[in-house]
């Protein structure tokens, strides 16, 4: 029996536009389970990124609730949400979004310092370890503009996990990467998940989707389908890809 770490009920998001309302999410009910590599797929404009941001508290839902740790994220104050971001959640953006005037090691460490669970020395040690694990320790004192996109994204992953988040959000983390870097980043995420990290990722790339243990399909602001998979094994990549493609075809992807 899987343990739910986040439950969304009636999650809605709409925007005012030209005097009317545009509904992006329409009453989504959803559970995110501990240890899962959950992937949300959908066509462009289906609301998948909006849902990711609403679930992570990065953006406020118009209606509904997102229960996490017994509290409704939707009703949390800005200060509580800030606390959540540096203690329980990690976030990876499609465009990496590293702070451009901080070096890679500093980008990772600053998030660690915010958390205050560890001493500064411990944070630095952990950041060093993560960069090594991400295989970018040789460029750790470089600024983001001085490294490749793949290295930037690996740094962003290190930053996202420095505080050992209970849930890692990733918004199209491979969207801005080339094929080689995409594989490296997906391998890292898979590796994290195998080691127990819960991940919620948005993507429209089937190669990324096959890394999931659970796939959700979003269309017109609602979850239209779900597919559960076994843990990823690179040897089974082709068959998983075929399985996912077939599932997507059934949903008229």
């Amino acid at each position: 029996m899987k343990k739910s770490i986040m439950t969304a009920k009636g999650l809605s998001k709409s925007f005012a536009h030209n005097g009317g309302q545009v509904h992006i999410l329409s009453g989504v009910d959803l559970d995110i389970y501990e240890g899962d590599f959950t992937v949300i797929m959908g066509a462009s404009g289906s609301g998948k990124s909006t849902m990711l941001y609403a679930l992570s508290g990065m953006d406020r839902a118009t209606a509904g609730s997102v229960m996490y740790g017994g509290k409704d994220i939707v009703k949390m104050s800005e200060r509580e949400l800030a606390g959540l971001r540096h203690s329980d959640f990690g976030f990876i953006f499609q465009q990496m979004h590293l702070v451009s005037n901080l070096t890679l090691i500093e980008n990772v460490s600053v998030s660690g310092y915010l958390n205050k669970k560890r001493s500064a020395a411990e944070v630095r040690e952990k950041a060093e370890g993560l960069l090594k694990r991400m295989n970018i320790d040789h460029v750790k004192t470089n600024l983001p503009s001085q490294v490749s996109g793949g290295e930037q994204q690996r740094c962003a992953i290190a930053r996202a996990v420095i505080n050992e988040p209970k849930l890692l959000f990733a918004d199209e983390p491979t969207g801005a990467l080339n094929r080689r870097n995409t594989t490296e980043v997906l391998d890292l995420l898979t590796d994290l998940n195998i080691n127990g990290q819960s991940i919620l990722m948005v993507t429209h790339d089937v190669r990324a989707a096959v890394r999931a243990t659970r796939l959700l399909y979003l269309s017109d602001g609602s979850v239209m389908g779900e597919l559960n998979l076994a843990r990823y094994d690179s040897a089974e990549e082709k068959s998983r890809e075929a399985q996912v493609n077939a599932w997507l075809a059934s949903l008229e992807w």
């Binding site: 953006d59 800005e78 451009s100 005037n101 503009s145």
Partner: protein, 779 residues
């Protein structure tokens, strides 16, 4: 049309920048209009008063004994004189007293001549007619109202060698030659009956040596005389000896100089400040344009791809800023108009005339035109980077990184996370903050300058170096004392005395030029800046200003004349003096005797080694010399009061302008920085930074900027303020301005700027609250 469309779009999109530049120019324009118009109003009003009073180009106060037929003949024969007019005057050698104040300088009493104007009761204009004076009534020159602190109906007493005379103040008239409160001599007006009786009494009290009656002689240049007032006076004196035989004289130029000395200097310093603020506006505009181009890189690339040339884009930017400056300037001129009369009237009690309002539109427009021209050149220079924008690169998002004009990596500390990140943000984009640093430095520099002005008179050392007799005690004797008697008196308290100021002022002519001369009984106590004190009776000290004016240097020989006596002196040194706004000399008592001045004194002043001992010294002197001596503590200096109030007004203007400029500059610079860093703010928020932390981080950066600016401004101030003020205050006789820069004097302006930059940036950072992490999403 395309330019117009672009211009409208730019203004619409950058309303904040447009309004900020317009506000800054509004302040500059309003201040310029005020300064130039008040200055014009003062000069025009003075000239009108001079013209109404038919004052001469030179006015000499000559002893009756010297104004004989021979002198009149010489004046009649003088070709450079058109005509002269002599008004008989009775001299009140010992000045005047009123209930609240007194003037110890000589006053000259006559009946009211034609042409003088009577100030109305509210002191806002003039009466149409001047009522006749009855016995016991007096019209005082307007500046005496300030000096004697009296009003209509008050009693005043005039002290002559023949006795004391009481009068009731009937009103105040504008006597333009000596009327300013800062000119010692005063020409006052009484009824014919009173004049006749005082004249007779004075005549009876006169002897060959001491004359108590004389003439106020107005000398007017002949039409073809192209000489300046000073040279005219010198030439007339060389031909007729009239100045050498006078108690003193004043040219029209000198009269204007003394009369408007406060307004000229206060307005002069403010004008320099405002022109520097105009440079600040250019710096702010330059920064705004530069960052605007960076932010608009893509749009400008698109415009280029659509056929807009760099020239047209640059022209649209130029027009946008010039239009803002034009709007601000026009509003500024109109806003200043009602204030001109208010500001001008502030100087009336000092200058001794009612200032009529004159708008200096032509001069203001000329200044503004120069500012516009400088602005246009600067903008054309700044916008050259538009030429480097490649349409293809811009459209494909190939904009250069905003950061990294430096690789300097200030360390990030876990303990001071916000502050160290702020420091990193600053060091990563130093160029962006360069303008703010320069502006903070300029503002601190000016605030320090005005502090230096206000603190200069509070410091003994500073006052001495600038030529102010800084004293602790005033001493007055019932009867004049000889040098030997004075030595005996001062010997009683010799261990407490630091400096002895016992000197009498006389006007002598040096190489034919009339110069104030301090005949000092203790030349060794004079503060000498170069050379040495005049120990011998053929030595003379001179101020730098007088030496420059007369072309004299150390070791030069000069011919000094007083009345009919001529003596040769050697310039033995330079000294600072504020007497006659720096046109002064000093000789010792024996040298004075050679020019016919007795070595005696009616009083003087002392500077003590320890001011705390003042009461003990008073007690010791009064105990020994009883009723023969009056010793008072020197704590109420009229001249310093006026000086202090003028400085206070200037301080208020400079401080308030500086802080207001700081507000506008910080808001402009921070709003650009905010736009540039929106993404970073979103990233920090996504990592768990709260809005409060980010706002502090944002404001700390401006604190760092202002601290660097304040340090720079303080260093520049330390190096240049004394020199700059020495040049600027030369007009009032200060060639050696000195300010010691106390800790408070430096800390207050620096702290004010730093706190304001921090608070204003914190205020401007309210927008951070509105930045959503959602903006980081790339769909």
């Amino acid at each position: 049309m395309d330019i117009l469309t672009l211009l409208k779009a730019n203004i619409r999109r950058r309303k904040g920048t447009f309004i900020s530049i317009a506000i800054l120019t509004f302040i500059i324009s309003m201040a310029l209009t005020l300064i130039l118009s008040v200055s014009k109003s003062c000069i025009t009003s003075f000239n009108a008063a001079h013209s109404d009073a038919k004052s001469g180009d030179v006015t000499a106060m000559i002893r009756d004994i010297a104004f004989n037929d021979e002198m009149k003949q010489k004046l009649d024969n003088e070709t450079i004189i058109d005509h002269y007019e002599a008004t008989p005057v009775a001299v009140m050698s010992n000045g005047m007293t009123a209930d609240k104040s007194s003037n110890h300088n000589s006053c000259f009493f006559s009946v009211l001549p034609d042409g003088l104007k009577l100030v109305n009761r509210n002191c806002t204009g003039y009466e149409d007619n001047i009522p006749q004076l009855s016995k016991g009534e007096i019209y005082l020159s307007y500046g005496s109202k300030t000096v004697l602190k009296c009003d209509i109906g008050d009693k005043v007493t005039a002290h002559s060698n023949s006795g004391d005379y009481d009068f009731t103040v009937k009103g105040f008239v504008v006597e333009p030659t000596f009327g300013a409160s800062n000119i010692g001599w005063k020409w006052q007006f009484i009824s014919q009956e009173d004049y006749d009786s005082i004249y007779a009494a004075n005549l009876a009290a006169s002897d060959d040596d001491k004359r108590n009656n004389g003439y106020m002689v107005k000398l007017c240049k002949a039409d073809g005389c192209g000489l300046s007032d000073g040279k005219f006076r010198r030439q007339v004196n060389l031909d007729t000896d009239i100045i050498s035989n006078s108690w003193g004289s004043l040219t029209k130029d000198m009269s204007i100089h003394y009369t408007n000395i406060y307004s000229d200097n206060v307005l002069g310093i403010l004008l320099v400040f405002i022109l520097i603020l105009a440079i600040v506006v250019l710096i702010v505009a330059g920064h705004s344009i530069s960052t605007g181009i960076e932010l608009d890189y893509t749009n400008l690339g698109i415009l280029k791809s659509q056929g807009f040339g760099s020239g047209r884009i640059r022209l649209s930017i130029l027009l946008q800023y010039l239009l803002a400056e034009l709007v601000g300037s026009i509003i500024g001129i109109f806003a200043a108009i009602p204030l001109i009369s208010v500001i001008a009237s502030v100087f009336d009690p000092i200058s001794g005339y009612i200032t009529e309002t004159h708008l200096a539109l032509g001069q203001t427009l000329l200044y503004l035109l120069c500012i516009f021209a400088a602005s246009a050149v600067f903008i054309i220079f700044i916008t050259h980077k538009v030429c480097k924008i490649s349409p293809i690169r811009a459209i494909s998002g190939g904009r250069r990184e905003i950061y990294f004009d430096s690789r300097l990596k200030a360390p990030i500390s876990a303990k001071f996370l916000s502050s160290t990140i702020a420091l990193r943000q600053f060091t990563s984009a130093k160029r962006r903050y360069l303008a703010s640093i320069v502006i903070a430095a300029i503002l601190v520099f000016f605030m320090l300058m005005v502090n230096a002005l206000s603190s200069a008179t509070n410091s003994k050392k500073a006052a001495k170096m600038m030529g102010i007799d800084y004293c602790d005690l005033f001493i007055n004797f019932d009867k004049a004392k000889s040098k030997e008697e004075l030595d005996g008196i001062l010997d009683t308290v010799k261990n407490d005395i630091k400096t002895r100021y016992f000197h009498g002022g006389r006007y002598i002519s040096i190489n034919g030029e009339e110069i104030h001369c301090n005949i000092t009984l203790y030349p060794e106590d004079i503060y000498v800046t170069k050379g040495r004190a005049p120990i011998y009776d053929n030595e003379m000290l001179i101020t730098e200003i007088a030496a420059d004016e007369l072309g004299l240097k150390l070791g030069d020989k000069v011919d000094a004349a007083r009345y009919d006596k001529h003596e040769e002196f050697i310039i033995c040194g330079f000294y600072p003096s504020l007497s006659d706004t720096g046109m002064a000399t000093a000789i010792n008592g024996k040298a004075g005797e050679k020019l016919g001045v007795k070595q005696e004194t009616g009083g003087g002043a002392l500077e003590l080694k320890d001011a705390e001992r003042s009461n003990a010294v008073i007690e010791a002197l009064e105990k020994k010399y009883g009723d023969d001596i009056e010793v008072t503590i020197a704590d109420d200096d009229e001249a310093m009061d006026i000086y202090d109030s003028a400085i206070f007004a200037m301080k208020a203007v400079i401080y308030s302008f500086s802080l207001f400029f700081a507000l506008i500059v910080v808001i402009m610079v921070s709003s650009k920085a905010f736009t540039q860093e929106k993404t970073d703010i979103g990233i920090f928020k996504s990592q768990g930074f709260t809005t409060g932390k980010l706002r502090i981080q944002f404001a700390v950066r401006f604190l760092i900027v202002s601290i660097i600016g304040a340090i720079l401004g303080t260093l520049l101030g330390r190096l240049f303020i004394n020199k700059l003020l020495s040049v600027m205050l030369r007009g009032i006789g200060i060639t050696n301005f000195y300010s010691s820069f106390t800790f408070a004097g430096v800390a207050v302006p620096a702290a004010a700027i730093c706190v304001c930059f921090f608070l204003f940036a914190l205020l401007a950072s309210r927008k951070i609250k509105k930045v959503g992490i959602r903006q980081l999403v790339t769909e």
